[in-house]
């Protein structure tokens, strides 16, 4: 198989990567783009640790191939804080005590971000649904819900 050039927007910056089209997006981001906040936990789209936003919607990057993101806009946790200033969700996760081992955190924050971009004041049920594709084994989710509520100003 030949390598192809793939161009996309990564954290608001245009990038072009020469790679194999069947390389998984999680590998592309971690290995070729130094975005190691994108975690791999299961390789089958079940744990949500590798969640990134593609054109504003959350997807598990372990299920995507590089060829599938041509022209898309990708957001990883590295791109969430702007000019060193943390996103509201990030500060609320810290303040609410929603971070324990931290492995699910990047994906969790991005799923929450996608929710708040579409729905700035979600209900408790909407928060639970939006985060149900991100497994956390440490926190029991409760403080994560609280963090999202805090960020939403609920």
């Amino acid at each position: 198989m030949d390598k192809i050039k793939i161009s996309f927007i990564l954290n608001d910056k245009p990038v072009t990567v020469e790679t194999y089209p069947n390389k998984r997006v999680v590998d592309l981001l971690r290995e070729d783009c130094e975005c190691t906040s994108v975690k791999e936990g299961c390789s089958e789209g079940e744990c949500g640790a590798c969640t990134v936003l593609v054109n504003g919607t959350p997807v598990t990057s372990c299920l995507m191939l590089a060829g599938q993101i041509e022209g898309d806009s990708i957001l990883t946790l590295e791109g969430l804080s702007k000019d060193g200033e943390l996103d509201k969700l990030q500060t609320s996760f810290v303040e609410a005590g929603a971070v324990q081992c931290g492995y699910c955190t990047p994906g969790m924050v991005l799923s929450a971000k996608a929710l708040l971009m579409k729905n700035p004041h979600p209900t408790h049920e909407e928060i639970r649904r939006a985060l149900s594709g991100n497994l956390c084994r440490c926190t029991g989710y409760t403080k994560i819900f609280k963090a999202v509520d805090m960020a939403a100003g609920n």
Binding site: K39, L135, R137
Partner: protein, 747 residues
């Protein structure tokens, strides 16, 4: 309820690791990258019990980009590892004892090449009879997994006169309870990187015990301890599953053989297949009481399967035996326990070391007893509850720090406030637990180094691995409290064997207590010099000095004071350094070999959960709706983190009680991945009400105990008992899968 006036403890601080984790900057093992780094992989057995007839890696070695393939012959040092017993080969030599045993390891230029090389390796086995159950194992003529017997460990505890006591009892209840093999399912699969730096093998690993790893790597490599450095990198959860050696020894071998850095990242499947599991246990119990509800005797016989290797099995059996009567005063106790070796997956430590299993048994018995006596389940528990002065079955007499009854009362109070009146098919259940903090009847010390720097900031070095539970935050708070500084003044370096002293395992809920005490002792030592200098300067006796809120002042006259920066300037002037080294080993004794009498733990934590559930009697589905959980933590070091432990524990308890189970057949795990081994999602979480009870004793740092494992335990029996309450049926086997619940409902 805190008895002490504390400046730092008992509040909520920003976790030391929070900012790095929330920005994505925190580096986990899989995120590490070094120049010229190779990737490593393991060729594993696919059969449970066999000798190797032929192994051939020539095709793999011929693959361009493969750097080396190593087998047991290439191990420079010893080829046996294990936390308690050294019974597991780093690479198989004599025979295969489980599916997943490591036969060979490979290093190659890319992960893809590693996978390709593994596919090219060939093995032929001579199969041996697989031992797959307790009954198999105990048959006299069965094949032996290790040595001459499959009996891994047998324990007996006896106090009082059990037979005579049962003869006097008005009510006796019996039950046989079964719990299943479970998987930790930490979200980060095991990973690490090893490299050689200045003649030292450095292993960066996802681990719960860097210092243990160091010893294992050193022995495998035939090197002195100080030629091996293990650094615990940011670790994505453990729950006991990262106490055993995972990638560390293999990485060291590969880095040593190639002279290049090597990284290994396990797949989810590999991680689940070979990391230790929770011991499946069967517990047959008999409990006798007088007609007014006072328990007179408990008898338990339990069996457990530790699988192919001991791992933490010896700790699980001993702890299960000591805890199996529950947090109650029981004058006459007899416990027998047998753990066996089989060719099943290895079982070891998993949050609670056997206490979650026995809690299902003792709380099932309490539920049955309450029913038989027609007593309120909470009243029955309060009547029998351990309290200050209680004599345990081991002969130990409890001190003042026993907050069990308070947890029952607080949970009951909350239940009256938040639980609904039960409709049909709804039920409420109570579950309780006690948990001895630290290792059982064995020394388990930890140490800390501290230095107060010229600007009054502090370097604290502890061996204790922070795996996300927040131990570094706890140590910082304890140091700040003791030194009279603020939390933000303390920088913690943890679990790096070249920098920090031994901390022991982040397990057994022991670090707040043991590393916490070590930290406090180290700080006291540093404070001694500080106090002497301050006393000289202020011209007051040093015993009168109070260190608090970055000030040092006289307890007699607060106006006589100096600030910390002033004190540090004074220290500099006199050429004094504020350093301290502290070590703490809990005051326990070895347990008697025959009766298990002795002092197994210095302190105990207590907890009560009340659960409300609703059962769909047409489908057997159990909906866990509300969980109230009250925990005596002695002294909360950080309230928010204690709540976080309780909430996380409760959701794990829900998984344990309702749907988690490792299924294995012929020694092979059938559901090693998240799509098949279900853990609770955000949609499953019930309403959780954490309650912190504080009964501080003298033993812990500022009275603190531990909460990591206690947080899980009482939720499991509470949910089980709530389902019993909803359906009027007893359940003896977990998890309460819809299929099983339906069978019960339909008779």
């Amino acid at each position: 309820m805190a008895l002490r006036d504390l400046a730092v403890l008992g509040k909520a601080n920003v976790k030391k690791d929070a900012y790095n984790k929330i920005t994505g900057e925190a580096k986990f093992a899989a995120d590490l990258k070094f120049d010229h780094m190779l990737y490593g992989g393991v060729f594993r057995s696919t059969v449970p019990h066999a000798t190797i007839k032929r192994f051939d890696a020539s095709k793999a070695l011929a693959l361009p980009g493969v750097a080396c393939v190593l087998t047991s012959k290439d191990i420079p040092g010893g080829n046996r590892i294990g936390i308690i017993l050294k019974d597991e080969p780093v690479l198989v030599d004599d025979k295969i004892r489980r599916v997943g045993d490591a036969i060979a390891i490979v290093a190659a230029e890319t992960q893809e090449l590693v996978e390709e090389a593994l596919e090219l390796m060939e093995v032929e086995y001579d199969l041996l009879e697989p031992i797959l159950s307790y009954e198999d194992a105990m048959r006299e003529d069965s094949a032996k997994v290790h040595g001459e017997t499959n009996l891994h460990m047998r324990k007996h505890l006896e106090s009082g006169d059990v037979d005579a006591a049962f003869a006097q009892c008005d009510v006796i209840v019996e039950g046989t309870y079964t719990t299943n093999m479970l998987s930790h399912m930490f979200i980060e699969p095991d990973a690490g990187v090893a490299r050689i730096e200045d003649g030292v093998i450095t292993v960066y690993a996802s681990t719960q015990n860097a210092h243990f790893d160091r010893g294992e790597v050193a022995r495998t490599m035939g090197l002195p301890n100080n030629k091996v450095r293990v650094v615990q990198v940011t670790t994505g959860g453990g729950f006991g599953g990262k106490l055993d050696i995972s990638v560390q020894c293999h990485l060291a071998l590969l880095a040593n053989a190639t002279g290049r850095p090597v990284k290994m990242v396990r797949s989810r499947k590999e991680s689940t297949d070979v990391s230790a599991k929770r011991h499946p246990m069967t517990m047959k119990a008999k409990t006798g009481a007088t007609k007014d509800g006072k328990i007179q005797a408990v008898e338990v016989f339990m069996t457990g399967d530790t699988g192919a290797y001991a791992s933490y099995g010896p700790a699980v059996i001993v702890r299960a035996v000591v805890h199996c009567m529950g947090p109650y005063e029981v004058p006459n106790v007899r416990v027998d326990a047998d753990f066996v070796y089989t060719n099943n997956p290895m079982c070891g430590a998993f949050r609670g070391f056997g206490v979650p299993q026995v809690s299902v048994c003792h709380e099932g018995q309490m539920n049955a007893l309450a029913k038989a006596l027609n007593m309120d389940p909470i009243d029955l528990r309060i009547l029998n509850a351990q309290r200050p002065g209680t004599v345990l079955a081991t002969g130990q007499v409890l001190d003042e720090a026993v907050g069990f009854i308070e947890t029952l009362q607080e949970a009951k109070k909350k239940a009256a406030e938040v639980l609904d009146t039960c409709k049909e098919n709804q039920g409420v259940g109570v579950g309780c637990m006690w948990y001895g903090v630290g290792n059982t009847g064995l020394p388990n010390p930890a140490a800390a180094f501290v230095e107060v720097l010229p600007d009054a900031s502090v370097n604290l070095m502890v061996g204790c691995a922070d795996i996300g539970q927040g131990s570094s935050t706890v140590m910082a708070a304890i140091a700040a409290e003791e030194l009279g500084l603020s939390y933000d003044d303390i920088h913690v370096t943890s679990a790096d064997t070249m920098v920090t002293p031994e901390g022991g395992a982040s397990s057994a809920s022991r670090q707040t207590f043991i590393s916490g005490n070590a930290t406090r002792i180290a700080c006291k030592q540093a404070k001694e010099t500080l106090a002497q200098t301050a006393a000289n300067f202020l011209n007051v006796p040093k015993e009168d000095l109070i260190f608090r809120n970055r000030m040092v002042y006289s307890s007699k006259d607060p106006a006589i004071k100096l600030t910390y920066p002033e004190l540090m300037a004074e220290m500099k002037k006199w050429g004094k350094l504020a350093v301290g080294a502290g070590a703490y080993n809990p005051k326990t004794t070895y347990l008697d070999a025959k009766t298990m009498a002795g002092i197994p733990y210095e302190i105990y934590a207590y907890g009560t959960t009340i659960a409300q559930v609703e059962v769909d009697t047409s489908t057997g589905e159990v909906d866990v709706q509300k969980l109230i959980s009250a925990h005596d933590v002695g002294q909360a070091v950080d309230r928010e983190m204690v709540e976080g432990q309780i909430e996380g524990g409760m959701v794990m308890a829900q998984g344990f009680a309702v749907f988690e189970k490792i299924e294995h057949e012929k020694g092979k795990i059938k559901n090693p991945i998240f799509s098949k081994y279900l853990i609770p999602t955000a949609m499953d979480v019930p309403e959780i009400y954490p309650i912190i009870v504080e009964c501080p004793g003298e033993a812990g740092p500022f009275g603190a105990k531990g909460v990591g494992e206690p947080a899980l335990i009482p939720g499991i029996p509470a949910i089980t008992n709530a389902v019993e309450n909803a359906l009027g049926q007893r359940f003896f086997e977990l998890p309460l899968m819809p299929t099983e619940v339906m069978k019960k409902i339909r008779g």
